[in-house]
């Protein structure tokens, strides 16, 4: 692997290897928490915090972990940070804690975090891994916020509504985009809207990058955090028919 500059590591996750839109990993939290900008931002920041911390710790200790038990070790480190984030949110931002609900503990099985631990932090130094964590986390957060904005504007007609973790004044109702004259299409904040907006955003990314086609045309095993440890990729992709 050639040596990359610090800046390219940082920006890699934003566009070129955007975890959600290009690598197609971490789809569950993306779809579930992008119902409004507020929850999208909360989820993005929580996952980013876990990603940065776990990348730093894993890159610092990867030399002393025996190779064949590294995945359980990585999972333990990640789960520890998820628990810390969970407890901090429960104590200081209870509204966000209840809005994210089940998806907060599920950060631990977010493919992005284990995937980066395996693909990047386990092979690189502490500083590079921290930058990679920041870049990937920001890429995830930005994608979530773009999807959250589209779904919130189409779904409710307002933008940036919410209590903003208790910081916004109680009269804040969000910026009205078209809520004054058309009611929102609430289907957009429901499950089908999530899939649909995700499809449109991804098709748009395909459209603008169609010349530099590095876009994945399919899912397959690369979307799985266990890719590099999995020994059955061929059979798996062919199915169990064999």
């Amino acid at each position: 692997m050639e040596k990359k500059s610090k800046l390219s590591i940082l920006t890699n996750g934003l566009i070129k290897e955007n975890p959600v839109l290009v690598l197609v990993i971490g789809t569950c939290p993306t779809l579930a928490t992008s119902t409004s900008v507020e929850t999208a931002l909360g989820m993005g920041l929580a996952a980013t915090a876990v990603l940065i911390c776990s990348n730093i710790v894993i890159s610092a200790i990867h030399n002393i972990i025996p190779d064949n038990v590294r995945i359980p070790c990585y999972i333990t480190v990640i789960a520890g940070f998820v628990t810390i984030v969970q407890m901090l949110l429960q104590a200081f931002v209870p509204s966000l804690y209840s809005a994210l609900g089940l998806f907060l503990p599920l950060i631990v099985v977010n493919c992005i975090i284990l995937g980066r631990a395996e693909m990047f932090a386990g092979k690189n130094g502490v500083v590079d891994s921290a930058l990679d964590g920041i870049g990937m986390g920001l890429g995830f957060t930005l994608t979530l916020m773009v999807m959250g904005s589209i779904r919130e504007i189409l779904g409710t007609g307002t933008w940036l509504a919410g209590t903003w973790f208790g910081l916004a004044p109680s009269t804040w109702k969000g910026i009205p985009i078209f809520s004054n004259f058309i009611p929102g299409m609430s289907i957009m904040t429901l499950v089908p809207g999530g899939f649909f907006v995700f499809a449109i955003v991804m098709a748009f990314v395909h459209f603008i990058t169609r010349d530099k086609s590095k876009i994945k045309q399919d899912f397959g095993c690369a979307g799985c955090a266990m890719e590099s440890t999995c020994t059955n990729q061929d059979e798996c992709e062919k199915g169990a028919a064999a």
Binding site: V24, Q86, C111, L190, G193, F195, A199, M202, G239
Partner: protein
Amino acid sequence: MDFTKIIIIIISMVLVNNYPLAQFLGICPFLGVSKDLESSKGMGIAVTFVMVLATAATWPIQQLMNRFGIGYLQTVVFILVIAALVQLVEMFMKKSMPSLYSSLGIFLPLITTNCAVLGVCISNIDDGLNYFESLIQAFGAGIGFLFAMVIMAGVRSKLEDQSRIPESFRGVPIVLVTAAILSLSFMGFNGMFS
């Protein structure tokens, strides 16, 4: 334990609260492994199996942790228990049931990081279900997952010829549009139980 309650839990997990199509859990394998019918079935059955086993293991552990006042370690303990359990099942299957291993075993390593498995364990605790209800709920969630996977594989087999799809929508986006339409039809089951 009366029979109607069991039926209600199963129907609600399969149709109303279907994991991939109504709750966004287990989307990665739902989109990734649903290319053909055989692998969808294998993945669905393997997930159901692991879900029931994981619930059987994690529910008593949570009670034990609550007794000692360390319930907050839920996330750490559950994911390690699931990872160890999957590994154990894989080893056991390889040794004593090679024919089953060749059809289901290849999906097992992928299941550790499947959010539907951890999700069902945590939501069983959050919903305050008893041990038997938890097992039924896990079973229902797995069957719902299998159901969604098989439907998706059926639809995707009709999409194999991608030449009529706009270029930007080929590959992943068209699968997502398919999932959107499927979940729209599953929304029809909303309000089946009040």
